[in-house]
Symmetry: C2
Subunit: 219 residues, 2 copies
Amino acid sequence: MTYSLYYWPSIQGRGEFVRLALEDAGAGYVDVARKKNGVELMSKKLRQLHIFAPPFLCHGKVVVAQTALILHYLGPRLGLAPKAEAARLRLLQLQLTITDFLVEVHDTHHPIANSLYYEDQRAESLRRAKLFREQRIPKFLGYFETQATLPFSYVSLSLFQVMEGLDYAFPEAMRKTSYRNLRQLQERVKKRLAPYLASARRIPFNQSGLFRHYPELDG
Amino acid sequence: MTYSLYYWPSIQGRGEFVRLALEDAGAGYVDVARKKNGVELMSKKLRQLHIFAPPFLCHGKVVVAQTALILHYLGPRLGLAPKAEAARLRLLQLQLTITDFLVEVHDTHHPIANSLYYEDQRAESLRRAKLFREQRIPKFLGYFETQATLPFSYVSLSLFQVMEGLDYAFPEAMRKTSYRNLRQLQERVKKRLAPYLASARRIPFNQSGLFRHYPELDG
């Protein structure tokens, strides 16, 4: 049964964490909003299904929203998570910590409101990004570093995406760091996903996504 | 088997969402960090178990962190969630949307960094809180209003806590709103939990928690 993923068509954003799992497993899926009239269809489904926000996944009668929860659902089905409940909970817990980090990444360029342009909250972004680089990257990546050698799972793919995103958004700050396990994992996933990453299905990082490169926020 | 909850002893914070579920079910539990030397014990456990942050729950050999995931684990065990997978996923999805909202509530008084005092990010807080009141409260509560009539679960208890917290933090802004289903649910839970809410186990809202009352942020 084909998976239908609904997410914004022009950014990696949170949807990319789901795309990576589907692609790594070679699963049959439709990236609905990237098809003709797909965004309209997504908006309609969102209302019909009483879902708060994309991404969401439809699989037969099952509808799942929230990135981490979609991965929790897909994990055992795609061979990217064990089937035992305790191990699944442990992975979801890690994925939810990644979710927490992503909010902080996003808020480096949107510390005041999502509804305002970056340019209208630039002063606040400069302040927030400095402390993000100095305090939050070490806190989160220091933790993820201790988790990066766990058996391969959807979390491994998400940690790859976190590292790729940070390298794009904060190249200078990241150059000064050293996370051996995370870097090894990043290289391993880069090889595993090489065909996908080279394809048109991989939307390039850009200035509308979650990870954005504003040199002034990179210190 | 007794549940051991680990969370900061002097605030409601995220731990309160777990306390409400345990209290509503009349479950046997220890609020470990509120006992003598409890905070030291919590810090030690946090390191030993490689957990990122409180709250976390120990139950026999099971260890669960992340508020929403703790509730997902407890739900069927406390009679506060169905046992069927699809229904459990739906509840967790809602709880994760509450989690998203709580970050935004917190960031009204900490838009720049958790490591700074409110007083050192007051100007940014004023800006963020205004848009939070005008845009984010209606967006999230408008959604939760449509979900407030679902069968009683741990999500109902969490929605009660969200309403209580917003009433404490933003009394003026909340007075102008009208969410009939959420208000009915709030009253229902207030009655259900009356003994707990009147007890010393219920930590009062205060200016160190997630929900804080700064009149200037209330418009």
